[in-house]
Every structure is written in C-alpha cells, then in structure tokens.
Amino acid sequence: MERLRRYGFVAGFLVVPVVLYSVFVISPYIQAFQLSLTSWNGYSSVVRYVGLDNFGRLFEDEVFWRALRNHGILLLVLPIVTIVIALFLSFLLNLGGGTRGAGMRGVWGSKFYRVVYFFPQVLAVAVVGVLFQAVYRPDEDGVLNGVLGRLGVDPVGWLTEPGLALWSIIAVMVWQAVGFYVVLFSAGMAAIPRDYFEAAALDGAGRARLFFSITLPLLRDTVQVGWIYLGIAAFDGFALIQVLAGDKGEPDGATTILPVTIYKTAFAYNKVGYACAMGVALFFLTVTFAVLTLRTTRRERIEL
C-alpha cells in the first residue's frame, strides 16, 4: 500500500509530461519515419507507399550532398572556433589577472566584459539576422563595406560571393554563440579549487602553463558538453541562413543546408514523403554525431 502510494505519486507527476512528449515529439517522429516511405504530397487523402525509393533518390540528389558538405564545414569550424575563443576569453576573465592577494582573478573590468559578451545570446536569431544584413550589406551603406570604403577598398559581397557566404554566416554563428560559452566555461573555472593554481604558480608556472596544465584538463567535461551543443547547432542554422542568404542555397549552393532544404521540399514543392526521408537522414546524422562524440571523448571523471 505504501509502495503503491509512493509510485502513484511519482506516476502522477510523470503522466502529463510523458503524454505531451509522446503526442508532440514521439508521434511526429514515428510519422516522419512512416511518411519517408511514401510519395505523399501533403494534400492527398491516399498515401502511397514506395518503399525505400526516397532514400535511393536522396543518394543521387546533388542538393543533398551539397548540404552535407556544408554541414561538414560547419561541424568542423563552428565548435572549434567558438570553443577556442570562448576558452580564451573566459580564461582572461577569470584567471588572466594572475595572482593578486588571495587567489586568482580576471583582467581588470572582467565583470563588465562578462555581461557584454552575453549580450548577443539575448537577441533572437531573427534579430541577429536582420542586424547582420545591415553589417554585411554589399554596398557602401553596409557597416563593413562603409569602413572598407573609407580605406579605399571596393565593396565586398559578403553574402553574395560563393567563396565567402558560408564563412560570413559562420562568423555570425560564432559571434552569437561565444558569449554563452564564456559564461559556461567561467562557471566551470570557478569550480576549480584556487589552491591548484596557487600551488602551480608557486612552482613558477606562467599563465600559458596554468591554462594548458590545469584549467583545460579540469574543464574537459564542460568543453565536451559545449562541443556537442555546437555540433548540433551545426546541423541547424535554419533561421539565420533563411534571413541572411535565402532559401535556395544562394549563392551557388554555398549555403545549402538540410533544414531549409527539407522545409522547401515539403512545403514549397509538396514532396512531403521525400522531405521526411531527408528528415530521417538528418535525425541519424545528428544522433550519430552525438553518440560518436560521447564515445570518443569518454573517460574517467576527475574528482576535484
């Protein structure tokens, strides 16, 4: 009786979220898998099954491969650049000031900088997109090109040159993400006992040595989490690319990504079945990435 009451209590709390989760997350997933085997157009009342045809088509679809290539670049560049910058800044904010008085401290004014770095995170992605439209505007009215113009450089098509567009967008993603990871890593660094640093400093370790021998190893778990989040962000980018570049991978497929392609295929071209097949592919890509990252970076936890 006692047990029943206890489990009843627990179950009572779980019922609502589990039902909501099943209806709004699990069931659409299952339907997406199911629809990926059909040629449904989004309107028809009859759903025709075509087996694995959609997946066969996917392998021959150059747009799909171009999207994968771009996701590959994002996956390599976005986490590394963001984490390196965020680690550097949070090190400066927390430990860069060296030992003064009791324990380590950040560079002068670090409390102020911490707030400033977090600003981009507060802005909605659409706002960031519109903001950077003005920054990247391809004539002299653009923020960047206005500065270049004064230096006598011709306006650059940041978002219209095929070789530049993706990098310009990655720069925005990094800009927006860094502040958050500065805060995340700062929290991680705050958890590292001060005496470690003091002991190392007494032994004559410089700031670089402190960072690589003490901070980084003890921050490993936090960095790993950041890595996975950024990896998942590399499979997204829907809103930013939609606002900054457009929905057709312009210029020349340089900004083609899966989420936008799925959206267009389903709702503009009415190939819902095929779009679901792309969604299923994206699902497996994301899961594979997360599992791989967790597996390859797993190791014994260091007890502080």
Binding site: G42, V47, F180, I232, A268, V272, F283, A290
Partner: protein, 481 residues
C-alpha cells in the same frame, strides 16, 4: 542554441531529439492530419456542382442565413478591398448575413490542415510565398467548379454572362486539368519601369533598339547612374521574368509555351540564349554587383533616388512604393527594346498578365455564397473599388473608367494600347513547377554575375526541366495559348 547548466546524458539525448524535431518542421504539422486521413476515396471532380439559374439577384441560390468565410492574403494589396468593399456589398445583397473575415500571410500554414480536414473557408485568395498548390487541391476535389460563375448573369447587365464581362485571359488561366477552378482577379503590366521626369529633364528618349539602350547606358554612366539593376535578394525572379519575356519578344510566345509544356530542349532555344546573353552583358557593362545582395525594397528605393534607370517589374510597383515616391519621380513603363532587327514581336510588345488567385472551396460550408462573392467581385462596383483601393486594374472590362488613375498605371494602359496584339504571355511554370522556377531564380543570379555562361544556364535549366518531366510525383499541366 540551448542553455545547458549541468546536463546529464539522458537530458542530452532528449535535447538532441528536440533539435532534430525542430529541424524537421514537417513532422509536427503532419501529426494531426497526415495518416489519419478522411477515409473516403479522393474525388477528382469537385464534390459540388452548383447550377446557375437566370435570376440575376441570386443565381446560385445563396442562403442568407448561412455565414460566409473569406480568407485574404494581406500582401501588397492589403485586405481593405475585401473587408470594406466586397464583403459590404455581399452583406447588402443578403441583409443579415454574417461574414468571417481573415487576413493572413501564412496561407499554407493556416489552411492546408483545414482543407485536408474538410473545414475550408468558402473564399480563398491564394497568394504569397506560402500559397498552396492548387493543382494538388484540385486533384483532391477541394476546388469548386467556376463554370456556373462564368455562365451566371453579370451583376450589372443581367443579359450578359459573367464570362463576357472579363478579359479573355481570365478564362484561359482559370483552367486546371481542363476545368475552370481559379479566378485571376487583377491585371498587371510587366516590362521595364523608369522615371519619366528624369528622362524629360535630361532630354533622353526611351530606347527602342538594343544599340540605343546601351548608348543610353554609356550616357547614364557618365552621370554615375546605372542603366539597369534588379534585386538579387528576394527578387531575382523579376529578372527571370524579364529574360523570359525578352526571349518571347525575340522568338515569339511559343518560346514560353514550350518551356511551360516541358518540350524537349525548350530552354536551349536560340532566343532564350540570346536573351540571357544580352542581359548578362548589360549587367557586366552597366550594372553593379552590389545589387546581387540587395532586396527589392532596397533596390526600389535606389531607383527612386535615380541611381538606376530601368527596373524590371510589374505595374504594382507604383502602389507598392507610393509612400516613398519623391516629387521629381514619376513611374512609366518602357517596353523591352528590340534585341535583333528580326524580333518576332515588334517594338512595343509588353507582358500583360492576370494574377491574384481566388478559389471557392468545393467541400466548404457555403460554396454557393463563395461563387456569389466572386460574382460580386466581378461587378463593376466591386472591380472599380478594388482599383481605387489598390491602384491596380482588374480583369473586369471597363471597370476602371472614370477612376482617377495614377500616372504609372496610365502609362501602362497606353503601352497596352500601343502593343495591340503583341502581348507577351505569362510563364505558368512558376505556379505549375515551383521547383523549376525556384531553380531558375537561383541560376539567374549565377549567370548574371558571370559565374556561368548563358549556354551553361540554358543547359542547367534544361536538365532541371527534364528531371521534372521525368518525375511522376509532379502532376503535369499543358497549355495551348
């Protein structure tokens, strides 16, 4: 971007799941309706066939007690023409009737589930970036047959049928799979638009040949003005139209008909290549690559500031920019200049097309009311009011008489008179094969920027057209005129 504090692996996996879910927005929308289905077999023919009587007051037998639901795309035309005019006229004809009016820009998101769930609004203005696929809706029997509407007596002259009061293009463009299902309501004139006052003050004449056109480009260059520009962001389809209309001017409307009908090698036709070549050349010599990154509004503002001479667009431009037009600017239309001495269509040919789709739901609650609403729209009073409110012409013959039209629209009307029979047709693959059209709007930027040759552009387009032709999941349409 998500905000983890400390997260466990289970939370992590859940978040991965959620991200993938967000990434595939299709999944969420489908859950309600996808495979639940409505049960019955799809009916290819419209479910309701409404007979039109000769009663000019109420030919479709509208029940005044039944409410009517109208959904309007609130884009460039706004929705006041429906709310304050057509719906009021409908209420006057059927006192006491209630009308539910909805204005939205998310046509597809809001209405796709309702059509599938047989809960469609009676009248729908299917427009904008999220417009629904009418061919797919027609295949499911969701669209009411408009034949009774076209055969009904007109509101103004009961002796005349509605079909005799509208421009003939309406009837041609109404057809999907051979049935009259769509009413195109507005008329637009597309060609090159320029500032008549600037030309007057500089003593420039509108160029009639390509040599005059480029000579003007040289003259304008000296004043720091571009001969031509189009918006590479959001509006590259203006240039795709422009190139297609130029091709039709060189080789006749058959060029566009062949492209629409997916005829083999239609894109590789010589006039298409010529048209692409001359425009890419103009871009290279008299254009500015900055415009590849500007959107339509930014480009149109620059046009109003006399930074460019010619802008390829339709007659809605004047109303679109009406708040920003300076005193020294007056919109006027210029036909595409003669490209060769032997163009199939003489100088003066412009594109005149019908647009702004209205459909009546066949399985809605009040299809009779829907048809009657369209009949009221096609009355002189309804059409004149639309022109007054939107500064755009309608398909109703003579409805704009006596309306104080703005200068640009008058110039378009004069250009149409001058063009006479030489009217360039619209390219319908824009609605029929959206994937091909989207690809074209992307490729036109590439060829105009000089990253591929015109030959390569034509070959790419042909390859895509061939792929569409082979794809049996895409329903095919044909046209003969």
């Amino acid at each position: 971007m998500t905000h983890p504090g400390e997260i466990t692996r289970r939370q992590l996996l859940r978040r991965i799941g959620m991200t993938a879910f967000v990434a595939g927005p299709g999944a969420g929308l489908l859950s309600a309706c996808a495979t639940a289905g409505t049960g019955g077999d799809p009916t290819a023919a419209p479910a309701t066939s409404i007979a039109a009587s000769a009663d000019p007051k109420n030919p479709f037998g509208v029940d005044a007690k039944k409410p009517l639901e109208v959904v309007i795309f609130s884009g460039g035309y706004g929705d006041a023409y429906a709310k304050d005019l057509h719906e009021e006229l409908y209420k006057k004809a059927f006192p006491g009737v209630t009308i539910k009016h909805t204005a939205t820009q998310q046509i597809g998101t809001q209405l796709r589930p309702r059509f599938i769930g047989d809960d469609a609004p009676d009248v729908l203005n299917n427009s904008g970036p999220e417009a629904m696929d009418l061919v797919a809706l027609a295949a499911e029997g969701h669209l009411a047959d408009l034949t009774p509407l076209f055969d009904a007596p007109s509101v103004d002259e009961p002796a005349k049928k509605v079909r005799d009061t509208v421009t003939p293009a309406v009837l041609d463009n109404a057809k999907i799979d051979g049935k009259d299902l769509v009413l195109n309501y507005s008329v637009s004139h597309r060609a090159l638009w320029y500032n008549a006052k600037l030309f007057e003050s500089r003593g420039w004449a509108v160029p009639k040949t390509w040599a005059e056109f480029t000579a003007l480009g040289e003259a304008a260059k000296k004043d720091g003005i571009l001969l031509f520009a189009y918006p590479g962001q959001k509006g590259p389809y203006y240039q795709l139209w422009n190139v297609l209309y130029t091709a039709a001017k060189i080789g006749g409307n058959q060029i566009i008909l062949d492209i629409d009908n997916l005829v083999d090698n239609a894109w590789n036709a010589e006039p298409v290549k010529q048209a692409v070549t001359v425009w890419a050349d103009v871009q290279a010599k008299y254009g500015d690559k900055a415009y590849f990154g500007l959107d339509h509004t930014q480009t149109q503002i620059k046009h109003l500031q006399n930074e460019l001479l010619f802008y390829p667009v339709g007659s809605w431009i004047e109303n679109e920019m009406t708040k920003d037009i300076p005193l020294d600017f007056q919109y006027a239309i210029a036909p595409i200049p003669d490209v060769t001495a032997a163009d199939k269509m003489p100088y003066g040919a412009i594109q005149v097309g019908v647009g702004e789709n209205f459909v009546v739901a066949a399985k809605g609650k009040n299809p009779q009311g829907g048809l009657e609403y369209l009949r009221i729209m096609l009355s002189k009073e309804g059409a004149r009011g639309f022109t007054e409110k939107t500064k755009n012409l309608t398909v109703v013959n003579g409805a704009a008489e006596g309306v104080d039209l703005p200068a640009g629209l008058i110039s378009a009307a004069k250009a149409q008179d001058a063009a006479g029979e030489n009217i360039i047709t619209d390219a319908r693959f824009e609605g029929w094969y959206k994937e091909l059209f989207d690809y074209g709007t992307e490729q036109i930027n590439v060829v105009m920027a000089g990253r591929i040759t015109p030959e390569k552009f034509c070959a790419n387009m042909q390859k895509k057209a061939d792929a569409i032709k082979k794809d049996d999941s895409v329903a095919k349409q044909t046209r003969s005129q």
